[in-house]
Every structure is written in C-alpha cells, then in structure tokens.
Symmetry: C2
C-alpha cells in the first residue's frame, strides 16, 4: 500500500503510520477549508518517531506528573497534533478531526490548553510555545531538585517542542533560548522544522542568519540533520544524543520539506496556510497508493501499531504511582506539598502569615516585598523572579536562593532584561501543573510581555505580575518609563485581574487574592513612591479590596462619590475631608480591581455606587478610558490626558493636575 | 591637572575632555538626585572619540540631511549625551544640565526626540534605540540608492549607536540585528558597552551567551576591544575597520567599567541607577586632581578643543548644500521629491489618485491593497513591508521591488516574523526626516510591537500600521489570532490615530488621513472578510470619516442612535432599516476613529450624537471598554465579552451575539 522509497529508520508499517498522519492532516484542513497542511506533512516522520519511540507519555492519563511534555510551538500545524492525539489514543475521535476549526469542536484552529486533552500549551502566536517550554524545563529541574530523593526519581521528564522559522525569528524565543542556555536546561529538546519556507516565500527573503551558530552562541547543543525530513535513523541519533546531553538544551535542526509529498505544492508557501485543494490531495493519495476518493482513512494496523506502547506506558505510570505512594510514607512532608499543589493550595495558613500595617507611609512595592518575605518561605511551590529589576521591584524575598544551573533548587529566577521571555517562561512554570510563578518589571514594560500576558489570560495560566513604578509617580525617569495607558490596556484583556492597591494593607490583601486566583493571571500595580497607609482602626478593612471596590468613607445620602485607585486614594480621602468642612458629603470608594467588582452582586455594587448619586468623580493617574462606565454621564475624571514628563513625582502630579484641589473642584463643578 | 595614567590614543587634553564628560554626568545625576552615572563614566572615552574624531555632524544644524546619526540606545545614560551636546555646541547650556530631570527642562531623564536638539531618537526602553538604528540605516541605504548620482553623493552617512547589555538582551534587538545582518547594513555601527553589570548585579547572573558569536551568526562584522574602556587607539582601529566595512553591519564589543574612576562603586551595580553620593564624587574629583568642592566645571580649553572641528563641519554642510543646489539643477525631479519630503508632502495629487468603489462587497484589507496600488507608485518616499504576512496584509503594491542587500533601491521590506523589529525599524525609517514607513501584520500581533508603537506615539514618529484580520471576523484561526481587546488597547495610547474603516471607500479615505497625519502613528484596522461597500450615491461621502465619526443614516428626532465601526457598520444599517419598518427612527453613526472625533467642534459632535437622545447602542466586535463615554448611562454595547473562538466567521458573529437581531433587541430594550 505504501508507495514511497524506503526511508532509514522507518519500517513499512511506520511509513504507513506517517502517511496516515500526513493524510489526516491534509484531509482535516481540506474539510475545514482552512488551516495549515504543509507543516504536518513535512514533520510527520519526526513527530511520529518522537511520539511513538521516544516520548514517555501515557495517553490514558494526559496529566501524569512525570510525563514528558510536548509543545507544538508552531501551533498552526495543529492538525499534526490532533492526528497524533487521535492515533495515539488520547480520546480525540475521527469525528473530532472532521470538525477541525468548527464552533465548539475539540479541534480549534490552534491548539488550546485546557480545551483538548493532551494539548500541553496554547500555541499559535509564534515564539510563545518554545518560550513556554523553557519555563516547563525550569519547572522540571526545580521539582527534581526539590523533591527527588535517593531511590525516588519522582521527576525526570523532558520537554520536547517543535518550532519553525517563525518561532526562531520572534524576539521572545531569542530571549528565552538565551536564558535556557544560561541555565543549562538539558531537559529541553527543540526540534527545528527547517523547511526554508515562510508565508512570504523562501526564508532567503528575510532569514539568512546562521541558526546553528546562533544557538551555539547561547550555549546549546546543536544537532543538524540533513536529508528530506524522512531520514529517521539520523534523527533518532540526534534525539538520543539530546537525551544523553548533561549540560545544555538541545536543538535538532531538521531539514524538512513543507507539504512533503505534494507534487505541485511541496517546498512552496502555497502549502503553508491554505488547503491543498481536492485535486492535489487526490493526486497525492494516488501517488502513495491510497484510494484518492476516500478521506479520513486510518488503515488497518495503524492504530494498533501506534498504540502498541500504551500498555507499557500505563504500567510505567502505575509504577510511578507506587513510587509516589512509597515516597509519601517516607517523606510525608514533601508529598503533602505536592498533593496540596495539585489542588492549588500553596500553604495552609496564609491568613496567619499576612503582615499587618499600622497607619503611616509605605510604598506599595515595599509592602509587596514584605508580603513576599512573610509568605514565600512557606510556599515552596512558587518561583519568583524579575526582569533585572530586583532591587526596584522588591521581588526577592529574604533568604531565597537563585535558581541557576548549579542551584536548581533555588527559586528566584534572574530573567535578565527579557520581559517577554519572563512572561512566557512564567506561563511555562505554571503549566507544570504544580508550580506557580511571579515576576517583576516596571509597569511600563508590561507592554514588552503583553503577548505572554494574553496567552495566560486566554489559557487560564495563573502567573502573578509584580508591576511596580505604576504611574507618573515614578517621577524622574520620565515619559518613556511612566505608564499612563497601561492600566486601561491591561483591563481590556479578558480574564486578567488587574489590581492597583491603595496602600500597604490593600497590597497584602491583593497578594492573597492573587495567590488564590487560579483561573488566570493577576497583575499587581504598585507604587514606587510612598503612599499613606490607612489606619485600619479608622477605615474599613483593607481585605475588602477582594470585592474589587468598597466604601472607604461612607455617607448617608452622599452629595458626591469619589472613586480612586492606588496612590490616588489618599487624594480622594483628603478631598472628601476638605469637602466635609464645607458640608459637602463625599463618599469615598477605593476601587482597586474592576474585574472583581464586576463579579459582585447587583445589591453590593449599588451599595458602593448608589444609583441615585449621579455626581461622581474618579481619580486615577492613568488615561480615562473605561471610567465612564462608573462615573456616568455627569461624571468627571481626574487623570492623565497625555504622556507623562520627567520631574520629581510631586511636580508631575501637580503639573498634570492630579491633585486634591482638582478633585474638589471637579466635585463642586458637578454638584453645581 | 588630569591625574590619570596615559591612555593609548588620548592626549592629555583629550583626557581632560573625557573627564569633563564624566564629571558633568555625575554632577548632573547628583544634582537631580536621580539618574544613571555609571554608564557615562564608563563610555565617556569612546563617546568622546566618536563624536570629536569620527562622526560627521554639524552642531550648528542638527537637521543636516547628510549628518551621521548617533542613537543612545542605552538611553538611561542620557547625561552622557547631554554632556556631549553641551560641550560640542548644540546649544544645550550648562544651566540645562543643571536642570537634569526637572519639569520642563531640555534634559529629561531619558533622551526625547523633538524635545532636545541633537537627540536623534527617544530612547530608554531597552532595545528600541538599536532597532531604530537599523531602520535609520535602511533609510540611508534607500536614499543613497534612489538619489545618489554620478558625482552627487548626496547621502552617505552612517548610523552609530551605543547599546548596553540590556539592549542586547531584549528580543526586539535580536530581531532587528538579525534583519540588519541579512540586509548587509554596513552603514550601521554599534558600540556595545560591555561592562558586565546590570541592575541585578553581574551579567553572569543571566547573560552568559557568547555575544560576539551571536552577532557573527547574524552576519555582522564583530570587533572586540579589550582593556578598560580607555584604550582609544584600539577602539579607533575598530572604528576605522567598521567605517571601511563594505558588506556587514559592525558591532564593536568594548570592554568597559561602569562607574569608571569611582573608587567605591566602579564595577558595581551601585553605580548604575543612582547618584554616586557627594562624598564619592568628591573622592573621585580629588583623585583626578579636580577641585572636589566645585560642580559642573568645564575646564579651560575643553570647549575649544571639542568644538575645534565645528568650523570644518559647517563647511562640510555648506559644501553639501552647494552639491544639492547643483543636483537640483541637474536632477530637478529628484530634488523636488526630496524638498517635498522635507515638508511632509508625499505626492501632490493624492485626491486624484484615490480609488473609488461602487456599491458591492470588498474586504477592507483588499481596498487597502488597491489604495496602495494607486498611491504608492507616486510616493517614492514611502517604504512598505510586512512581518511575513504579505499575501494576507495586501501590503505589497504592484511592481514594487523588494528592499534587499542587493537591491537597496527597492522599497518593500521583508521583515520576517519579527513584528517588534518591524515597529522599531519603521520608527527608524521615519526618523530619517525624509521617509515614511508602513508595515503590516495581523491586528492581534500588534501586541508584539506595542512598545514600538508607544515610542512612535510618544515621540511623534509617523509610521502607518496595516493591521488586518481585525476581529473575530478572521474566523477559523481562532482566539489566539482574534483580536478582541486590541482596539481598546490601541485607543488607550495617547497620540495614536486608531482607524477602523467601515468599508472600501472609508478605507481609501483612511489612507489619506494616515498619510497626512505627520504628528504620530496611524493604525488602520482592516477586515479579512468581505464587508458591504456602501453606495456613495445613497450615503454621505466616506471622506467624512476624516471627522472621526459621521452620520450615515440621518433622522429628525431619532428614537435611538446606533454607533458602529468597521465591519459592524453594515449590521447597524441593517438594524436601522428593520427598525424603520417598525416606525422606530434609528440614526446610524459610522465611528471609525475616536481620536479624530474628539478633535471636532462641540457643535459637530452634538450633531452626530444629539445630547437629548439618550437611547444609544454601539456595536463593535471588540471589548466594551471606553464605549460608555459615547453610549452613556442608558446605552447598550453589543460586542465581545470574552476571547473569541475558532469557527467560520459568520458562526463566530452568531455565537457571540454580534448580530442585526442583537442590535435591534438592544435598541428596543432601551427605548422600552
């Protein structure tokens, strides 16, 4: 049946399996009339070989902790992954494949984590998957260093990823791969689909750097496999070399042909992002001795062959489960940490550990640092870090060891000036299923990592961003470093908790919210400058911030509501006090998190922002976008209308008119 | 006076100048009590040597077209640049230096383009400057290829940049430098301040890749200069080598010492981002034989020495002006293009060239492509491109040649899958002072280039972004590729024109607006899918989109206003027609650009959105953020509340409830 030259390392039955993957992929794309057939066709032999002969995975349980991970960084080749998941027995049916790219199917255009069993990471936006893989590799190393004991090799899995030219061109991958080399992540194995083709045409149009040399410069083990993508004997040698590598991540540069086997479209960008067309598909099938009229065919023997290792895989997991049971007896404390982490419990007495602040002044970034000092020694499953702003972000808690090549049991990551990689690596750490990650940079540079933030929000990864220097309040560094639009831009992303705490105690409470939010990412926006710490004997408990907004200064039949977030809350309070002296009753609302407030009951929301009070002022040192929803038609917003300026921060507030006087004037103007 | 060992390549007077730069820099930071003294101290000799001995620049005219460009990519070292501008005679006074980082001074925390004469690019956010420099180098090559004639070497300038570890770590720099190597930009010379120190501490914490090898892999000429940053003889050799290089960009890896000369802080991150302290400064000055009590001292002879080449430089420019005058006579057509470009005029008959569409259907990305076909052959000062989505973005106009190493007169840039570099390179092209740039990617991936968009908005660069596939309307690629929050996120950035045209004719008009907007960047959000082309005999002229919003279907005393943008305008019209059948008068407003609408008179705004009509619906396939400003307290927004989904696009619209029926239901609900 299989009509092809004999390829080294592949039996005739192997070839049949490879053809099946190729044809399912092109059939899926053709039926959807949308998708990317070329990459699966070129990479089918390597993916098949990896999945059936090298990867340690148990299709019966895609969540087994010690499985090898596979990340399809070139996510547009999703039909390759779906074909593998079907043929290997992950529960994805032939019907699912036929629903490729249809509403509510298990086979969306790009792989989505949490949606399809066996998909280890959401991919598609290029460079993200390979950078997630770096995080996953860090996670494995850390888990092994933390928990493995003599005779108990609990964690010894590898991370495999397939990446294409696009992934390698993206800056985030450069950042992450440089970091991976620095950290000596020998558990990371990248298979580079070197097919010479991108959407615009030949890679010679834009991508002529020496990729092998580049990865050598990062400190990687570089294996080059020539041929046409079918020489599995050579590929297996490279894979074995990678598996045996002790010190470095490996990249296998595998020369392939996009759309392999397509007489008219192989090696052309026409095979990249569009169906091959029915005629071409028939031609291909005919050439290979398949019935050209039939689609979605899985020949006899293919499933059996591809699942022939499944029983053994299941046995492997059972042995591991036994190992873990024994481990739990011998190391109950360690086992409990792992079991708690499975349930998302990072420590059991978080409330008792939280610091409490008395009235005074403190920068919220410092309160954040203090909270980390209090909590993190008790949360071994959280890895911290900063993109080279450790002393500014206050992200390094006392006594923490760096995570480095020679100290993988450390859990503070020095990301370097690589915000985007930090975001993607944090996603990968969270994807371990056991670990959480937090990481810091200036809020302004959240822009650099925005694609990774989006992936977290979309996929339900739960990293925590420590974004300090959160407004013009950072002062002298000036407009290049002063976020003004970033708070609106973050709030715009669905499923991100964007929290801007008013003071030290709200910061402490925000950390609790962040650690307990397992549904998506949380961003903490923190001040560089000192802000008033509100007296908890005088004002409602800061823990109320968990409701997103709460009344700080309550009034019966208020004349005006003044809403504020973060460092501007003290302006709102001061304004209310001055207004009170003039017999104007101003209700002050601290509103650190819109998303949490939106989740409250209508009754609660109406109690915070009484419907009948139309006189409303909001003050926030950011742009106005979005505030009209809360201040309404009669409202006035006091905030930024432009970029910031370089000056001491008090001068900036004054210069941009974000002052107590401005709040008072606005309130009076509305009241009329 | 100068108390230092004799350094190769520096005379005693040179040394005095270098010390002056160092001491002005540390005095400036100390007086501001904020800033970065270490980098200027380490790099003073190289910067001095470059500026006084190698750079072709005329301080009397910082805008001379044929000057060499200097970009301080490591923008935090701004006092280095300000000291040079002062000492070289750019008009920056000693008083200006004393106002470092103060409100309204000419010496903000990071260099700002357009604010301080002689600052060639806004820098600070790392990786941007070096990537701008790549664009500037492309611009020079293109200008030379387009305009130089036998005997008329109009454009032959070079681009110099100083970049630090942070710049090299940022992914955007990896992307841009890979592209620079591919394009063989031998007019680009990067001086890498290799000082082993970042904010977190030693570079060994996170940045151990082989930088020289990495740049070799990109195809660069790599020159390594050892020593301590003072061996100017070796540095000059490297510079000369760079200037003579014919095929490749050059990076000079210069070993330096941060905070050079500071007995207690040299080689420490303590010298990076904080003042050295008065005691330490006194110690340093004393060690060098300066009066420790005096600040902001410029010793006799320094100004004279540093400005000794200025007369010659001015002569050089005058010669060039003569050359250009002769050129204008011999090549009047070419000279006219250059003179028009100086004034921002790209072609003189733009209105006559614009395509006109009759009623029908057309994707706005295709209308955009047709507009480019019509305009671009007549606009030689505009360079186009795409981040490897040319066939999807419709950015390649007919007959355009690629800009490549061997075809620098081409003006279509193949950026590769490097959105961030594209954004920064486009900024650099616009910084040429003569060229404009447009570039395409999917709207979703605007996130990847967001830091560059922000720099354009902040600095007043005027690139044009062709963001196609602008909503769930892209369909099957799914949520990873479907922008939902991006429109809000773009609108949040001050000084960006975010335009989402409703149909083909609005797209044509939007291109005109974009090309005429010289104050900042313009983003065109375009559909993948077909949309109705409104009949220009029936509806008001699409050119009205230049007002940001205009009435499409006018009503006397409307019952409801329906606002929409882009592909949803046809839904609004269809809803209005159905409502009319029920005697409900719906005024339909096309609202492609909020920023332009906000600039209109109150009277105009009130005519489009009559104050007394509180029943308002907005429909847009994005998140609601910001719309309440226009729909008001009684309004209903029809749009996205979550990420998208993978399915044919009509199914997506239906599934997410963005339909004619939903608009009708919302209108009726409000009317009650």
């Amino acid at each position: 049946m299989v009509n092809t030259k004999s390829n080294p390392g592949l039996s005739q039955l192997d070839e049949l399996c490879v053809q099946t993957i190729r044809f399912l992929s092109m059939d899926g794309v053709q039926k959807a009339n949308s998708g990317h057939p070329g990459m699966p066709m070129g990479m089918a032999p390597a993916a098949y070989t990896l999945w059936t002969k090298y990867m340690k995975h148990n299709p019966a349980n895609p969540k087994w902790h010690n499985r090898d991970r596979f990340v399809l960084s070139a996510g547009h080749g999703s039909m390759l992954l779906y074909s593998l998941l079907h043929l290997c027995g992950y529960g994805l049916t032939l019907d699912d494949l036929k629903k490729f790219r249809q509403w509510d199917s298990l086979t969306p255009g790009h792989p989505e984590f949490g949606h399809t069993a066996g998909v280890e990471a959401t991919t598609g936006p290029l460079g993200q998957g390979i950078s997630n893989a770096v995080g996953m590799a860090i996670a494995e190393k850390y888990l092994a260093a933390q928990f493995n004991k003599d005779g108990f090799n609990l964690f010894d899995y590898k991370i495999y990823t397939i990446a294409g030219d696009g992934c390698l061109q993206e800056g985030v991958a450069s950042e992450a791969c440089s970091l991976a080399g620095h950290l000596g992540l020998n558990n990371l194995i990248v298979i580079y689909d070197d097919n010479y083709i991108t959407i615009d045409g030949d890679t010679s149009l834009s991508f002529t750097e020496d990729r092998a040399k580049r990865f050598e410069s990062y400190g990687w083990n570089v294996q080059v496999v020539g041929g046409d993508g079918n020489d599995m004997a050579s590929f297996e040698k490279a894979l074995q070399n990678a598996q045996n590598e002790k010190d470095r991540p490996t990249i296998i540069q595998l020369r392939t042909h996009i759309g392999f086997g397509s007489p008219n479209k192989q090696d052309s960008h026409a095979a990249h992002g569009a169906p091959l067309g029915e005629d071409e598909i028939k031609l291909i099938k005919k050439n290979y001795g398949w019935d050209p009229e039939k689609t979605f065919v899985v020949p006899d023997g293919v499933i059996e062959h591809m699942q022939s290792g499944n029983a053994e895989a299941d046995k492997l997991e059972k042995q591991w489960n036994k190992l873990f049971a024994d481990y739990s007896e011998k190391y109950p404390k360690e086992a409990a940490i792992i079991k708690n982490a499975e349930k998302g419990v990072l420590c059991e007495n978080i409330d008792a550990l939280l610091p409490k602040y008395e009235a005074g002044v403190e920068a919220t970034r410092k309160a954040s640092g203090a909270t980390l000092n209090a909590l993190m020694p008790n949360m071994p499953m959280v890895m911290g870090g900063s993109a080279d702003l450790t002393p500014s972000n206050n992200t390094q808690f006392k006594g923490v060891k760096d995570y480095q090549k020679d100290s993988p049991s450390g859990r503070y990551i020095r990301y370097g000036v690589r915000e985007h990689a930090m975001g993607a690596v944090m996603n990968g750490i969270c994807l371990s299923g056991l670990l959480r990650a937090y990481g810091g940079t200036f809020f302004c540079f959240s822009d650099y990592m925005r694609p990774a933030i989006r992936m977290a929000a979309l996929s339900g990864y739960n990293p925590i961003y420590v974004f300090t220097h959160d407004s013009i309040g950072l002062g002298e560094d000036g407009p290049t470093h002063q976020p003004v639009e970033h708070i609106a831009a973050l709030r715009a992303i669905p499923n991100v908790l964007t929290i801007r705490p008013a003071d030290a105690n709200e910061t402490v409470a925000a950390w609790k919210v962040a650690l307990e939010n397992t549904a998506g990412p949380t961003a903490l926006l923190l001040t560089r400058q000192n802000v008033l710490t509100l007296d908890q004997n005088k004002y409602p408990a800061a823990a109320n911030m968990a409701k997103g907004a709460y009344v700080l200064v309550e009034q019966e039949n208020p004349d005006v509501i003044i809403m504020a977030t973060g460092s501007e809350v003290e302006l709102a309070i001061a304004a209310a006090e001055k207004l009170a002296a003039e017999n104007i009753k101003a209700q002050v609302v601290s509103m650190p998190c819109w998303e949490l407030f939106e989740k409250q009951s209508k009754a609660y929301k109406d109690s915070v922002l009484p419907k009948n009070v139309k006189a409303r002022v909001a003050v926030e040192a950011g742009v106005e976008q979005g505030w009209y929803k809360y201040i309404g038609d009669s409202g006035i917003f006091v905030g930024m209308k432009s970029f910031g300026a370089s000056a001491p921060y008090k001068k900036c507030y004054e210069g941009f008119g974000i002052t107590v006087d401005a709040v008072i004037a606005s309130a009076k103007k509305i009241i009329g």
